[in-house]
Symmetry: C2
Subunit: 168 residues, 2 copies
């Protein structure tokens, strides 16, 4: 994760521009600014969740379970939905089981598999975190007016679609 405190200023970039023709200082600064804000937001969110004994990984598992009508899912499904490896999900699930926020239900039809279910302690944890989380999201996002925010998101989506320029 990019933690660079010193995003280069135009003066520093000038030195680099002498060596590298392709450098466009403004674009580089803007690119790094986007990366930095992404990491800053992520960090701030993690600090917030930590106050509740959670981090993004475990928090998402609880949320994914709450999305389900029966509050249950298999570790594999959770891994796919959370976008982490099965090994990582195994660790997250075990930690949540240890903390007593989810329960394990062995599958009756498949001896390899089991379900995890959001239990009352897990639901209580979400009931504790989520209102505070939503209030903060509201506050943060309302620091930009609706029209500007919509436009910003639209531009970010364009950027996302063009990420692949780095892959060739």
């Amino acid at each position: 994760m990019l933690e660079l405190k010193d995003i280069p200023d135009s003066q520093i970039l000038k030195k680099f521009a002498d060596r590298y023709d392709d450098l466009n200082p403004l674009l580089v600064i803007q690119f790094l600014t986007i990366l930095r804000i992404g990491t800053d937001l992520t960090e701030v969110l993690n600090n917030f969740l930590e106050k509740y004994g959670l981090l993004q990984g475990r928090w998402w598992v609880l949320i994914l379970l709450m999305r389900e009508d029966d509050l249950t899912s298999t570790p594999s499904q959770l891994a796919a939905k959370a976008g982490v490896s099965k090994a990582t999900m195994n660790g997250l699930v075990n930690r949540l089981l240890k903390d007593g926020l989810i329960s394990r239900i062995n599958s009756e039809v498949d001896g390899r598999s089991y379900l995890v279910k959001l239990n009352s302690l897990g639901q209580a944890k979400l009931d504790d975190v989520m209102p505070a989380y939503y209030r903060r999201v509201n506050k943060l996002m309302h620091s930009i007016n609706d029209a500007d925010r919509d436009q910003m998101i639209e531009q970010l989506m364009v950027l996302k679609q063009n990420c692949n320029v780095f892959e060739s």
Copy 2:
């Protein structure tokens, strides 16, 4: 780092909204979208750097050294500038020394300290990476026109300044 594949849609959020009054679906989706694009860009950059045997940490160290007039710095200074702990910088510096991209110069005035210097192999590595990096940044950022891009960055800066709503 947020890797959530399934950003919730309005339908899922409706279920959550029944339980949590404070939820504003659009704002949550937009917030998560910003986080996701940040992680996507970071990942794409890391994949790019990996093709050159680097990752963000080591790459930044080389860049920070190249910024210096004498191409040298101490591990502590590098840690501060890169925004990582001294322990982390110790690992990065050792790896770069092992790879032969930087050289170690023991301090003559302070027996505890030493300088690291970008050497010719390190400079060659940067000369290999940076033009390709800058070209890709240009391509990516030009997917948005200048005015829209400037405005987007401006909004992101506002967001950054309001990150602290998560800290209270």
